[in-house]
Amino acid sequence: MTDLPRERQPDPALKKRVVSALVAAGLVRRRRVWPVWMVAAAAVVVLAIGVSVVRPRHTLAPGKTYVLLLYQDSTYRMPPKGHGAERVAEIVRWADSLHANGKLERGGHLVGPGPIGGMFLIRAQSDSDAARIAATCPFTRYGGRQEVKRFEE
């Protein structure tokens, strides 16, 4: 009698059912899944910032400071598989050129809920100049939405 199997694999769908029941009862916290595009976009921003940090500092160009916000939502088109590094390099080159001209103060990855995933502080002569600089960001070329606001302390 003891030769009968003591284990038996249930239908894989049962696990989803059980976990859903536990989550609904407040007994288990659902695993947080970061969308692939958000992870990749965050990596782009972080790398861009990393490069800007290690570069020699340049004198900031005259003008005003503007905040460039990057919306990492569903309109942003991810690079094809295996081409993520090219996208990163593109953003880094853009950040480098701005920095070299004293037009980039700093950038950062914004953590938390909501679609805004990154920001750059840029220097521009005017609102329209800031918009023009923002439009050069490769982020827009891939459907990434942006917003530019003048920063006042």
Partner: protein, 168 residues
Amino acid sequence: MTDDLALVEKFLRTRGEDAFDALYDAHTPALYALAMRLTGGDQSEAEDLVQESWVRAVRALSTFRAQSQLRSWLCGLLVNVRRVRIRTDWRMVDAPDMDPVAETRGPDEALDLERAIGTLPEGARDVFVLHDVYGYTHREIAEMLGIVEGTSKSQLTRARSLLRSSLP
């Protein structure tokens, strides 16, 4: 610290899906096999049993004590969930009266045995499965089922006798 205890502690610390996944993967095959036997091979009922058992287990996991094996604790919980469901579901109360053994005999001996176990009266089936298949002692079974050891022994004798008469 046993692996099970580590898994339990990790789950209680995080209450996360990943930690639960590890517990689920480690013990569900045993729970499901037990549930299938206790339900006479009713997959839908067995899945319901496993689900309800996990919900109850997670609610009570903080009371689990390392002195007992997690698997025994979970199996006992499943057996009791099953018994509560029998008491509250008239359809299951009728189940022990069914005697489809003669019709369901097949060429495979193990399959015959599985089917025959499925036709045993509930009390005898529970004890037989826990004792002869899973190797629990009468004392452990008595604790799990809330019966005295003597009842466990007599149910086992009854189950074996019924199986002997129903198998080829």
